[in-house]
């Protein structure tokens, strides 16, 4: 066992970890943040996507100790002040959510994309979410949601 510090969703926390635990295990079992999912355990599906120091990562591919003294944002930390992030709202409004299992990872992926590129083209959105699988929607509505979120973030009065 080893104790590490981690800033998770804006709060500094201390947590005991096993050396062989993944960041995903610490998020789900240590912090009980079950919005981050496990779909394949080998970095293929993207349902465990989180932001690590602002960069998009698969939490199943990072060892817990690698996240020591760093900042992690999960789906539970995306909204501000109890409200929804514009990306979350856009996912609801466009019908981009079906079974919902890919949704947290998709939203984190979209978040990482819009942080880097606030005005992505359709092609850039597709590329931005290319590490996240969805088996329900066919992606069209998800791309639409990210475009809508980008638009609303630039024109908040709408």
């Amino acid at each position: 066992m080893k104790t590490i510090n981690m800033k998770i969703n804006g709060t500094e926390r201390q947590i005991e970890i096993d050396e062989n635990e993944r960041l995903l295990d610490v998020i789900r079992e240590g912090f009980h943040l079950t919005g981050t999912k496990e779909g394949c355990g080998e970095g293929e599906c993207g349902v465990c996507s989180v932001l690590l120091d602002g960069k998009l990562v698969n939490a199943c591919m990072i060892m817990a100790f690698q996240a020591a003294d760093r900042e992690v944002i999960t789906i539970e930390g995306v909204g501000k002040d109890g409200g929804l992030d514009p990306i979350q709202q856009a996912f609801i409004d466009t019908g981009a959510v079906q079974c919902g299992f890919c949704t947290p990872g998709m939203i984190l992926s979209a978040k990482a994309l819009l942080l880097k590129n606030p005005t992505p083209s359709k092609q850039e959105i597709r590329r931005g979410i290319s590490g996240n699988l969805c088996r329900c929607t066919g992606y069209e509505k998800i791309v639409e949601a990210v475009a809508l979120a980008s638009d609303r973030m630039r024109n908040p009065e709408q």
Partner: protein
């Protein structure tokens, strides 16, 4: 009259919990005093076996190992035929058949203990080709004839039509098994409530069917079993057959503690059904104007080790093999056959997905032989309002196929496919390189 839903943009009720990460899928559930289960699965496609669980049971943290002997009621389940054993008694029929479940204080202990279960297999002759499995001397997977189902259509006189035809195209088409790959691997929890009700929480497509089979396996009345369907992370037909439900229920009852099981992706692939691989032999005839005269089809669906929905799927394949076309003379034989392959069941389309591989290629080849445009030959034969299908169903309601073809033709003619796709692939490669750079640089 104003509609509240039709024509309106309705927000889904579970949207908010799903975008905030609050929605609970079965793997997200936890209870106090919980045990964990892990399944031992067959590594042989067809074999008799004996199993010794003593060593595994003696490991610290293991509370018990379930085998077929622990199923108090009927050790069988299935959506049509009860041909699945919840835990195999003495014979496995496919790779991945469940044989035992270790119940332990932690997931890690349960996984580790699987290695200490001793299994002795006695190989049986296996059959993987459904054509071979249909032969009289083939190994019998369930002790009876391997042909589960035979669907026939006999309409008009196909042989006479073949004699009169201007063109005949005959070939065999194959489709492979496909996995649903729903994103949420199977998971669940079971526990006994204070009033004795046995509750099973698992992502399922048929809570009512699950209840019948769980009650049967436990020897309980249906009213004593409660199924809770939490958020379901995709299904597409792959959650229609039971996987871990009976195992959870038996363990929770036997050990009087909540029990949780979560499959990883590999086990998920082993546990649930696949789309039926189907072989379709089609002989199609048309006159010189491209009007279809006859179709003779032999369809063989590989249902693998268990029947699941094979009857419905191969019936549907048999009905759909004509395509959306009027054909006056039709002869169809459609079979579902047991083999020792992974079992097939429901998956998106339910037997309607495979036939277009055959009938659309047949149409293109007839058009080619007649020197006819592929759109024209389809328009000449398309179902329309009032058409009769090969099974004599009269189409009385919406049949908008003509409009669909019109839209398709317009799109193909007016908007040639952009060569953008090639750039996109190169972009992806560049992206991948960047990503690899990121890994090397950032992750220590």
């Amino acid at each position: 009259m104003a509609f509240k839903v039709i024509g309106e943009n309705v927000l889904r009720v579970d949207g908010h919990t799903k975008v905030t990460g609050g929605a609970k899928y079965p793997a997200d559930l936890e209870m106090d005093n919980m045990l964990y289960g892990k399944t031992l699965r067959s590594i042989k496609a067809h074999a008799n076996f004996t199993i010794d669980t003593k060593k595994a049971e003696s490991i610290e943290g293991v509370v018990g190992v379930l085998t077929a002997e622990d199923i108090p009621g009927k050790n069988c389940h299935g959506v049509l035929f009860k041909d699945h054993e919840a835990l195999c008694e003495s014979k496995v029929r496919r790779i991945g058949d469940p044989m035992a479940v270790v119940i332990a204080e932690s997931e890690r202990i349960a996984s580790k203990a699987l290695e200490s279960i001793e299994v002795v297999y006695e190989d049986l002759e296996a059959v993987f080709d459904p054509e071979e499995a249909m032969k009289e001397d083939a190994p019998k997977i369930h002790g009876v004839d391997n042909t589960v189902f035979h669907f026939k259509i006999r309409r008009g006189d196909v042989e006479k039509a073949f004699e009169e035809a201007a063109v005949i195209v005959e070939d065999t088409y194959y489709t492979g098994a496909v996995d649903h790959a729903f994103l949420q691997p199977e998971a669940g929890i079971a526990y006994e409530e204070e009033d004795g009700t046995l509750t099973v929480v698992a992502a399922t497509q048929y809570p009512h069917f699950d209840r019948i089979d769980i009650a049967g396996a436990l020897g309980l009345e249906e009213e004593q079993v409660r199924i809770i369907n939490p958020a379901v992370g995709g299904a597409f037909g792959g959650r229609e057959d039971l996987t871990l439900q009976i195992h959870l229920a038996v363990a929770a009852k036997k050990f009087q503690r909540p029990v949780k099981m979560v499959y990883d992706r590999k086990e998920s692939f082993l546990a649930h059904c696949k789309r039926h691989p189907i072989t379709m032999h089609c002989k199609t005839a048309a006159d010189k104007d491209g009007k279809l005269l006859a179709l003779k089809a032999r369809i063989v669906g590989d249902t693998g080790a268990y029947a699941s929905w094979a009857v419905n799927v191969l019936r549907k394949a048999g009905v759909h093999i004509t395509g959306p076309y009027e054909i006056p003379n039709v002869w169809v034989d459609s079979y579902a056959v047991y083999t020792n392959n992974p079992f097939s069941g429901a998956m998106r389309g339910f037997g309607a997905t495979q036939p277009p591989i055959a009938h659309e290629q047949q149409m293109d080849r007839i058009a080619e032989k007649l020197g006819m445009d592929p759109f024209t030959i389809r328009r000449k034969n398309l179902f329309s309002l009032g058409s009769k299908t090969a099974t004599e169903q009269v189409l009385k309601e919406s049949v908008p196929l003509g409009r669909c073809l019109d839209a398709l033709e317009a799109a193909m003619n007016e908007k040639p496919l952009p060569d953008k796709d090639i750039n996109y692939l190169e972009d992806l490669k560049a992206q991948q390189l960047k990503k690899e750079g990121f890994w090397n640089e950032k992750i220590r």
